[in-house]
Assembly symmetry: C2
Homo-oligomer: 453 residues x 2
């Protein structure tokens, strides 16, 4: 009869304490979004499958959660597909809708659908869950929140500068020391152009990234093994030795890519971004990193990634510029640049470094004990006065044993317990107990409000 309840693999319940921490994260980010002029939108969790299919590659299509049509869902299913149990071709016949896989495609759909109501440049943020039928593993969920900000309809690099500054402000509020790594797709294209191997750009960036671990000799050997010519590897040497300040790196790149118009354009863009960001004196380290190659299948300009300096963990925020966000929905010429905060990883970093502010999980400030109907009636009147003064307060609902009532206050980490018994009612007072020190004192209502404010 009774089921042992559970939730699907890769999904999570969030307890009050986890919610308090998540709210702290999202509220901090929202406050900064607002300060930078971003506006919130929400789109439905359920989109038409035709909006989602084909946008994330073949693998992505498989990872979409599809929703079975209601009622007689087999009415459009051809006999032969059923007989052959042809799941792949049956799916579109029995499912019209799916759960969103990310916030970017629904946003592109939103921009096209509402183009006439929007003022461009449009600066939007969106914090909502997404769903992926990925194999669940540590740190990878089937349902998780994304937290994105994008500016669309503006080519200006000022947007990149603003987004980097925004990232700096968010992590500075969190107290997390970060390095913002910045690259530009055009620099990578310039390198590929220069050595005549545009298809090898991933191999090259992977190799550059390994130098610290395996040394330059091994990296060169690996490049040759990947099919890059000895001549090209020779040309890549300055890139593999790219160290020093951002300015030194820029100099090396300029010398290397002087003959590549695309490469030069990439360096020029990077220089604009670095100059203007430096002008704002960010607290974060902002670092030119030519090995940064995330999202190469959609980013067309700036690429950026954030790492926490004091915790070994992957990227905690990423983003970049894309040339044609909305083309797939029939609206060309809308360029954009966006970032995405990794809420789950930020949650873990804040836990690891114990950086949550002391009052993050604060709930009720004072619990009134319950001595019975008459006393609780009096207590409730005082509880209401505290709430009017903005103090979260509650009355224990039952006149249970004191031990049980105190246990509740303890478990909920309520710092004060107030008692209103016969003598307090007669005196118009409250006895207040500090749960940490055990200290107790009899106060007037005004004194009580002052003590708890």
């Amino acid at each position: 009869m009774a089921q042992k309840p559970s939730i699907p693999k890769g999904t999570r319940d969030f307890s009050p304490i986890e919610m308090a921490k998540r709210n702290y994260i999202f509220n901090t980010i929202k406050d900064v979004f607002l300060l930078y002029g971003f506006q919130q939108i929400e789109t439905p969790a359920v989109e038409n499958l035709c909006t989602l299919m084909g946008k994330y590659g073949e693998e992505g299509d498989k990872l979409l959660f599809k929703i079975l049509n209601s009622g007689d869902f087999l009415k459009s299913a051809p006999d032969d597909m059923l007989n052959q149990r042809d799941c792949q071709h049956l799916t579109p016949k029995i499912c019209e809708k799916g759960l969103r896989y990310d916030l970017t495609v629904p946003f592109a759909r939103y921009v096209v659908q509402h183009r006439n109501e929007l003022q461009f440049p449009f600066k939007r943020y969106q914090i909502q869950p997404v769903w992926r039928a990925d194999r669940p593993q540590k740190g990878r969920y089937r349902e998780f929140y994304q937290c994105d900000a994008d500016v669309v309809g503006s080519d200006s690099l000022v947007n990149e500068v603003e987004l980097i500054s925004l990232i700096d402000e968010v992590f500075s509020r969190f107290g997390i020391n970060i390095t913002i790594k910045v690259n530009n797709r055009k620099v990578l294209s310039g390198i590929a152009e220069m050595i005549g191997a545009p298809d090898k750009i991933i191999d090259i960036t992977v190799a550059i990234d390994k130098i610290d671990k395996i040394g330059i000799e091994n990296v060169n050997a690996e490049l040759i093994e990947k099919g890059i010519s000895e001549e090209a590897v020779e040309m890549l040497q300055p890139l593999l030795n790219l160290t020093g300040t951002n300015e030194e790196k820029f100099k090396t790149l300029e010398a290397m890519l002087g003959n590549s118009p695309t490469g030069k354009k990439g360096i020029e863009e990077l220089r604009f971004v670095f100059n203007n960001v430096a002008n704002l004196s960010p607290r974060a380290t902002v670092e030119l990193d030519v090995s940064l190659a995330r999202g190469l299948n959609y980013y067309t300009g700036t690429i950026l990634e954030v790492k926490a300096n004091d915790v070994a963990m992957g990227s905690i925020t990423g983003g970049g510029r894309y040339d044609n966000l909305t083309g797939v929905f029939g609206m060309d010429g809308v360029s954009g640049v966006g970032i995405s905060f990794g809420a789950d990883r930020i949650f873990d970093v804040l836990n690891t470094l114990n950086l949550y502010p002391a009052d993050t999980c604060a709930t009720t400030k004072v619990m009134f004990t319950n001595f019975g109907d008459a006393e609780s009636k009096a207590a409730l009147n005082i509880v209401m006065k505290l709430r009017k003064a903005g103090i979260p307060a509650e009355l224990y609902p039952e006149s249970s044993k004191m031990k049980k009532q105190m246990g509740y206050a303890d478990a909920k980490q309520i710092p004060y317990v107030a008692m209103v018994g016969e003598s307090e009612i007669a005196n118009g007072t409250v006895t207040l107990k500090n749960m940490a020190t055990g200290e107790q004192s009899e106060l007037s209502i005004e004194q009580l409000i002052d003590a708890l404010k």
Copy 2:
């Protein structure tokens, strides 16, 4: 090639202005929840179908959105079901998961699954979307938010008093005048007991509700038509004439139900709630309404419903007490009482009565115009100073024509525009324009911050 993008019927996009209004609603409610000691939880959108099926009646099972299993979803589908296109029996073979239909069943599942981590009484709130494959119509959506607060693990009527007080506080913050109608399932059971027709309780409450519209004669005729005996209709007359103050209604009920132990218990519970609520001097009208019969298939004690006094609209909040929330998941003896705010209807009421605070949709306070690279670099430094002072500010990202830049500020309803040109850079000043009055003045940075604070 390009698709004309759209979203599924019954779902919605929320624009920045709609989001601002919705955030105002949810934040107001959240603030009050916190003040009353409720803690937030979240559960996954996707639940195992076995958690959801059978909890909402046969009709409800049909209205669940089911998620197609990934990969070879037909592997457990028997041949005969496929051949007979037996959709009903195939569904559980090809779908293991579904979207939550409400917040109550997932909450019951949560309580049972996490019983050892929870401190009872557990006061939780939850604000999340739910999905129903209902036929969409005006005001009815397939994806919509619910906003619930419940206390579980306590039989005390103090919880009812607190929830009514909480409702009063929420709507008083909204500026919506309301009537909170309260009834008790046990009173209805008592009436049914008294006239010997327990199955007719819905017919009776529907009839009582119609008296103002069709008059007592017609109501009596309707009751006879529904198969209630003339004798019973005679006994019901005091109930049909139930008018006057709550106290007068109580007196009539007590006289009528004096011989029904269940009815007497219901009256006693109602009296406790009304006395204790009156003691808190609520701003709302709190009214005893024996025609209130919502949720009779699960509420076992208090039933309540909120109507806006100044707008013709259905219930904008409702709730009640249920005896055995978690029994279906194998954990008996957990009683609870809860309320649910109707966010969509509250949204409509606030719109109709124009009650949103003036700054609900406020975004950026000041936009800096962009006169080119050098000027925008200087402007960005000032923008950062404003943000540090907590003033939402942005720089228009491109050095477009002034008309276009001003059009952006206008469309986004930004109240001030700031200009930093050559002369302002030389003077260390900013020219500030009030977009409403057209007034312009040259200010130092300190003066600017003061003017915008």
